[in-house]
């Protein structure tokens, strides 16, 4: 299998959820933006007036003739091919539902620094960002983390995985979202390991997996920064 990932350069962003699945599985893939003429190729696809399945936005996965966009959609497609999804059909929809909850959490994390206009600068919407971040830290973040703690502790197959008794792409994505939240909100998430021990344990277990550890130490893993989804603006972070 030879996959192509089409995503922006310079940030982990939403593309990182796809990269983690490909890296864990040891899949062969090309990060198109880091190839010669990669960026024009992505822009041509986004602006194509003839592509039968035009994508709305990156990340996009190309697998031969198939073009797929939206993180959860890409992971639902890749999961069985990479051995990162359950075999049972019902369990696959459970995994997809969990991934879509992660999608919502990621969108809300992005909203903390862009509550008014995603195309404008953070610096032009700081008042709203302060108010929205307070709501996120105090209400939304505890709700999401409490939910995933329940998902893990209520899993009949044990609390080491979100879905069944094996690693899935949902665990990888949960690792990434926890890592991002710890970067963006170090004070608000300081107590996360104690308050959400099962979520934290998944984060730690994924981080230690050989292929993931190798990836995280490689130059393919970009550092978190203030152009991605998870941004560290100290004024938006409080212990509350």
């Amino acid at each position: 299998m030879m996959f192509e990932l089409l995503y922006w350069d310079g940030l982990q962003g939403r593309g990182e959820f796809v990269r983690l699945a490909l890296e864990e599985a040891g899949a062969t893939y090309t990060d198109i933006v880091r190839e010669p003429h990669g960026m024009p190729a992505i822009m041509n696809l986004l602006q194509s007036e003839t592509e039968p399945h035009p994508p709305f936005a990156p990340p996009i996965l190309r697998d031969g003739d198939v073009l797929i966009s939206h993180v959860a959609n890409i992971l639902m497609y890749l999961g069985p091919k990479l051995g990162l999804a359950p075999r049972d059909e019902g369990a696959r929809f459970w995994a997809n539902g969990l991934q879509l909850t992660i999608t919502d959490l990621v969108a809300e994390a992005h909203g903390t620094h862009h509550p008014i206009a995603s195309g404008d600068y953070y610096e032009d919407q700081t008042d709203a960002a302060l108010a929205r971040s307070a709501d996120f830290r105090r209400k939304r973040l505890p709700k999401f983390l409490g939910y995933f703690e329940r998902v893990l502790t209520q899993n009949p197959d044990g609390n080491r995985h979100c879905v069944g008794n094996a690693l899935s792409y949902v665990d990888l994505s949960l690792f990434q979202v926890v890592a991002g939240l710890r970067y963006a909100f170090p004070r608000a998430t300081a107590s996360l390991p104690e308050r959400s021990p099962a979520v934290w344990a998944v984060h730690e277990a994924v981080r230690a997996r050989p292929n993931i550890a190798r990836y995280l130490a490689s130059d393919r893993r970009l550092a978190f920064n203030e152009t991605g989804v998870f941004r560290h603006y100290p004024e938006l972070d409080r212990a509350d």
Copy 2:
């Protein structure tokens, strides 16, 4: 087939995208909240400490032992069962990607009246709502509508459907989002039929389908109102 839909009462909301698919297919389903003890049943499920697959939020579909949440996930599950999804696997992921773009549009429409805190009142976040609505009307709405116009016009099977040459749940959802936007933003969408003729044609064609027309005229179809996703606050709507 006997499905159960678990969703709030008193609003169309995100549940409406599921209802439209069930109604078009003539499926037998129960809208649990409108049954005796429906609301406590939903709350019990949301708060359950034993449910192996706890949902984060409604809408939720129950099909026997299977519980599925998130609109796009429910529709991807229901699509093949209701004859509202393509048979080809690649086309199903195309449909799901389109549905997830609709999901994003719906979330952004909700964000126009709740840019700061989804749990607070609109009246407590009107300044931010005015700013966010302006960005939505001027930039985001044209981008989304222009995208779906391209999806239709670039469809090799013709511009009458989003996916292939047959009705799918994506067409039904596109109808609903256009109906909601026309309700919430009558001035900003006044030119929609002229500017997005293929999108508008899908809206009109879906509205005229016998099962949909019958549903829309029934008391099962609630009116749009200011508790749902699409709310008409005149101050947020401008022709720009």
